[in-house]
């Protein structure tokens, strides 16, 4: 009996619940039918798709229109070909430049050695060109006009001429002098020694007796080259010019004071 009662109660509860749901359902259906919401929402879904497609299409078309506006297919094909060519060219250039960059990067270590070697080259070349002060082992020759002889003819010979200086300098060069100066005027490749009236010009600068010729090089070789029998010194002494030679371990030779410019000569690239 008790079990039956429980069952009855349960069924009652179920019925009650069902009735509640039914009532709510009825209300909803009535509401839907009154405003015909289902049909409207179905129409709305259709319109949703329509408006979505419309806006998407319009938007994507306006994006592409800027590029493709008013262009025919053939024109576009031409454009495509030219752009592809340009792209290929640019890519080629890019590859080349990346290669160069890679080379530089891989050679950065060797680059520093290159720079240092170049610096060395510059210093040696400037020493040769005479644009730096130099010092080193060498000899100093002093030439002075002879005063012993009084004869007028001989006196002219006993003076120090430009040719005398030239022969001395030539001999020094032949003996391996690395740098030469006359009274502080550095002898460089384009230096001229000539007689201008009563004075001698070296590098277009007047120099006068006594002439002090400094030369850097192997002092022994230089001295022997000067004092060899029937050499320059002998010749000059014969003429009556006073010559003194002294070896020095520290000869200082100044740099060339003028400017060297090439107006007509240009370097030839090999």
């Amino acid at each position: 009996m008790a079990e039956k009662k429980v069952e009855k109660a349960e069924t009652k509860e179920k019925n009650f619940k069902n009735e509640k749901i039914k009532r709510i359902w009825n209300k909803i259906t009535v509401f839907f039918k009154k405003y015909s919401i289902v049909s409207y929402s179905v129409i709305g879904v259709a319109l949703f798709f329509l408006s979505m497609m419309l806006t998407a299409q319009m938007k994507s078309m306006s994006d592409t229109e800027e590029m493709l506006a008013g262009k025919r297919e053939t024109q576009l094909a031409d454009d495509l070909v030219t752009l592809q060519r340009k792209y290929d060219d640019l890519k080629q250039k890019y590859d080349d430049s990346t290669k160069v960059v890679e080379e530089y990067q891989s050679n950065s270590a060797t680059n520093s050695t290159l720079i240092s070697s170049m610096k060395e080259q510059i210093t040696s070349l400037s020493a040769m060109a005479g644009t730096t002060d130099l010092k080193g082992e060498g000899i100093v020759i002093t030439l002075n006009d002879g005063s012993k002889v009084t004869d007028a003819d001989l006196r002219s010979d006993s003076l120090v001429h430009d040719s005398d200086l030239l022969t001395v300098v030539n001999e020094l060069k032949a003996a391996g002098a690395e740098a030469i100066s006359i009274n502080g005027q550095r002898i460089i490749a384009t230096s001229a020694i000539r007689c201008v009236g009563p004075v001698i010009q070296v590098n277009y600068q007047k120099v006068a007796a006594p002439f002090e010729i400094k030369a850097i090089g192997n002092a022994q070789y230089l001295e022997s080259a000067m004092t060899i029998k029937n050499g320059v010194v002998d010749l000059l002494k014969e003429y009556g010019v006073s010559v003194t030679i002294s070896r020095q371990s520290d000869v200082q030779i100044p740099k060339y004071e003028g400017t060297q410019t090439f107006n007509n000569a240009t370097t030839v690239e090999e």
Binding site: Y35, I37, G44, A46, L50, S51, M52, K59
Partner: protein, 135 residues
Amino acid sequence: MAGIIIIIGFVVAGILTGLNIVVPYSYSQYIAVAILACLDSVFGALFANIEKKFKLNIFLSGFVCNALVAIFLVYIGSKLNVDIYLAVVIVFTGRLLNNLTGIRRDFVQKMDNKETRFTYKLKKKRSKENLEEVK
């Protein structure tokens, strides 16, 4: 009113989602044809509603089938190297314009009727006034 609000809501949602979709250029033709088909069925539905012949089933089936068939035709045309999409566009635009003319005529007729009623009333009033004056 509720129906109009629902429809407007759906349309706005469609616009908002459409703004975030990008159609690839190669598919734009199909989408354009589908849009034309859908527009045609919508205007057809409006016209039918005016004539009180509107049925939801017909509208929905037309909406979906027209679009799909149009896309299918364009696809076949592209495969056969025939510009079928031109035919589709012409047919759908023709139908669309027909629907529009129907709607417009109906609208104008209604306005006309209203006006005639209005003028009729006016005339009545005037005639009454005239009669009173005569009396």
